[in-house]
Amino acid sequence: VTRHDTIRALASAELDFELSATDRTEVTNHLADCSACRRFREGIGRDAENARQWPRWDAPRSLLAPAMVAATAPRSLFRDRLVLRPGSAFVVVLLILAALIGAALAVGAWRLLDRSLVLPTGDWIAYSSEGRLLLVRPDGMGRVDLATGRTNRMTEPVWSPDGQHLALIVDHDVAVLDADGRLAKLTNDDVREVDPAWSPDGAWLAFGTDLGTIEIVRAGGMDRRVLIDGSDGPLARWPSWSADGQVIAFLGSDRTDSPDGTRFTSLREVRVDGTLMGPGFYLQRGGARPSWRGDGRLVFDGCMCKGGPHSVVWSILESALVAAPPRSVSVNGLGPDGGDPPTTPAFDSITSWSLDAVGSWVGYRSPSWSPDGSRMAAIRAPSFELVVIAPDGTVRLVADAPFAVLATGGPASPAAAEAGGEVSSIAPPVWAPDGQRVAYQVNRGFAIADVDGGRAVVVHAELVDGLDWRPTQR
């Protein structure tokens, strides 16, 4: 490209575009000295002027006919344009949200009609395994997955006293599933709720939270009340209603009776009006859910650890309505081989009672009353045998740890118990309404044993995180 080409290009551009002052000056200076480029400049100007003088022609008027027809054609509504004025984007977003909400409601309505959630009548054990909610017959047959098609995580099912409803934890909220399959959340917050428990009349549910609160709420979802506000510490587990529905025992925190003034684990009781009863019953390591008997006797287990790191205390208190639970517990020594104590007291005749397995890690864990309160079932550490204790204190082995799953998974070791409280996490055995059978969790899964026949059947061999036997339906 020569300088002449550049100047001619600028000269051409000058006819159509605004040139910079520099370019204009450059063109002017060059044209003053270059006759060839000056001729080009004059030539293109002349050509353009010549072209402007060319004849022009009128378009035939008939060319307008299609446009006239189109302009007068009936208007289709769909050809009109939706004009989005300022702010319309916001309205459009609202409309989209409304559509999404409508779709969600439609899906929700469909869910309500999902008949797979309808609770069948009859004798069923409800349990949860890896977030699924299942029912199974006591003989292990007729398994029903109530969570089919649902993505919610469902755990800790508990039957209402009349056997018509299931309380459970759905995605960390307390919920109730009724016989018609309607699932209603009673709580809906960011707090993780745990351990739902029905009041004896089935009107209320108590539960704990990860904030260390103990709360109650009506089974219909109204009138939620905080009984323990969590200010004593983050521990508040296993609320358990007394038979008269006036007191809730739970495992909580206390500092009043601590040997060193620090917070410690204790069995505590609170009235349903929120009144905390007396100091706690000191436990250095937590136990399982307390179990009430109809006459107000409460059985629970925990570790007082006063005799050694694995000392286990297992106590029966008099009615929780006694202002101050007895502190002074009698200790029964064990045999030299660490086995069962030679005798156990008749629990109907005592106000407090404990077994202390000093240094041997032998103990009775997670006791629960039979429906008529005539005996207790418990798990005997360290081999997780199921035992039944008669009113006269006789301990009878029901199931000699026969669970295959336990054998493959291995029993909890003393070291594991010391490190993580594994012993404390043993769920209490669950009695059948007839008082003849007991369902109990094993290492992975659960089994059912005939209390008098001593026969145990493993019903479910997957991890189970909640288990309850349906009461006799009323």
Binding site: A9, D16, F17, N50, A51, R52, P55, W57, S88
Partner: protein
């Protein structure tokens, strides 16, 4: 609710479209005739341009610059017609028979007397002809760029090549005489 169905068709009543036609038909048709391979193609392009103007208005797409818009649609229509014509010509050559088609300049100008610029212009590539004619019709450089869908720089080069080619052709014709 602010969303409204608004009829943005004011200006496409029969009277208004006639007014637009009166304003622009002469320049547009002349432009099309000089750009098209034959008069029929020019008429088709102009007819399409006014029809599309009505459709655009009824669809709510009111052009900001109606004149430039008409030139753009008309030019694009002719470019498409030129492509179709080239395809047709290839098929005609395959069957070994020339169609009865006038050379462009003859068809365009009919019995009109042509000057040298017109003769040379007819031999230029389509886009160079288009750019030159737009410039002759008084569109500014940026307007030409928008009508052609090109950048300003590319349009400057296109116009320079067109003018240079015309100048060269005209000088040769003058020298031959």
């Amino acid at each position: 609710v602010i969303v409204a169905v608004e009829r943005v068709v004011a200006g496409v009543s029969p009277a208004s479209i006639e007014a637009v036609f009166e304003d622009f038909q002469r320049d547009l048709f002349t432009y099309a005739v000089r750009l098209a391979p034959d008069r029929a193609a020019a008429e088709d392009a102009v007819q399409t341009a006014f029809l599309e103007l009505v459709r655009a208005n009824r669809a709510g797409r009111q052009p900001d610059n109606v004149r430039a818009w008409l030139y753009r649609v008309c030019g694009n229509e002719l470019r498409g017609a030129a492509r179709r014509r080239r395809v047709a010509d290839r098929w005609r050559s395959l069957i070994g028979r020339r169609a009865d088609i006038d050379p462009p300049e003859v068809a365009v100008l009919g019995r009109e007397r042509r000057d040298d610029v017109e003769v040379v212009l007819a031999s230029l590539p389509f886009n160079q002809r288009r750019a030159f004619l737009l410039s002759v019709d008084g569109f500014s450089g940026p307007e030409i760029a928008r009508i052609l869908g090109r950048s300003d720089a590319a349009t400057r080069i296109l116009l320079f090549r067109a003018r240079s080619a015309i100048r060269l052709g005209v000088e040769r014709m003058e020298a031959d005489r």
